[in-house]
Symmetry: C2
Subunit: 136 residues, 2 copies
């Protein structure tokens, strides 16, 4: 069980006031054992299901984006009609089951080190992400 104080801290760190709505969003996002892959729409529906309270879609977008900017959420690079996020912000990779539109975590050690032997002058590497698409 993650404490409400942690949510408040996360919110304040993201320059967001801890409101009832945002705490509810945190409950759904961070009060879990396993990593959580979601779209804004998934999250929007889950909030009502889990907390019984409705939060407007705009608030969900705002809060998720603030968390993403602060590094509490990770965006998963996938071409889909919707944007996927991940509560696991550690360095890791993904399977994407194209048919079922489902994401599966790949531990870093499941992929092994990735060496980028090319560099672009004036630019540094921000992230290295592997996407493994799966088919039947």
């Amino acid at each position: 069980m993650t404490s409400k104080q942690e949510f408040i801290e996360k919110l304040r760190n993201s320059s967001l006031r801890p409101t009832k709505q945002r705490i509810n969003i945190c409950e759904v996002l961070f009060n879990r054992d396993k990593t959580f892959h979601f779209t804004i729409n998934d999250l929007f529906k889950l909030i009502k299901d889990k907390t019984g309270e409705k939060v407007s879609l705009a608030t969900v977008y705002n809060t998720v984006h603030a968390f993403h900017k602060k590094g509490y959420l990770k965006e998963i690079p996938i071409n889909s009609n919707q944007t996927y996020f991940d509560t696991n912000v550690t360095d890791h990779h993904h399977f994407f089951d194209v048919k079922e539109e489902k994401l599966i975590d790949l531990k870093n050690e499941d992929v092994g080190p990735i060496e980028i032997q090319k560099s672009i002058p004036g630019k540094k590497i921000k992230s290295v992400e592997v996407l493994v698409k799966l088919e039947d």
Copy 2:
């Protein structure tokens, strides 16, 4: 210079009749030396610029999707407001300059072998793609 016959062949292989519009799309897509990264909108504008003839947006979408399905174009997994495609369909990876929204090819040997040491029962690997995000 790629010949018109090749375009017609690509179109027929994709179950598309070789029309004037589609040949024009092929001119912009495949008549080049280097790999070409583009969005549908880029392509749409380039067709008018390069061929002097307008092709409707719907036709561009249809044709690009047919080529993608057939494997003549590759979709680049990136979260952007628009979908990026690549005329280089060989196994390779990308840099993405987040600030300039620009894609840069990474040759396969620039990345080295990627070993996926996990498998999902009943599924097989369709593709393995690395996206390296760049910042200043």
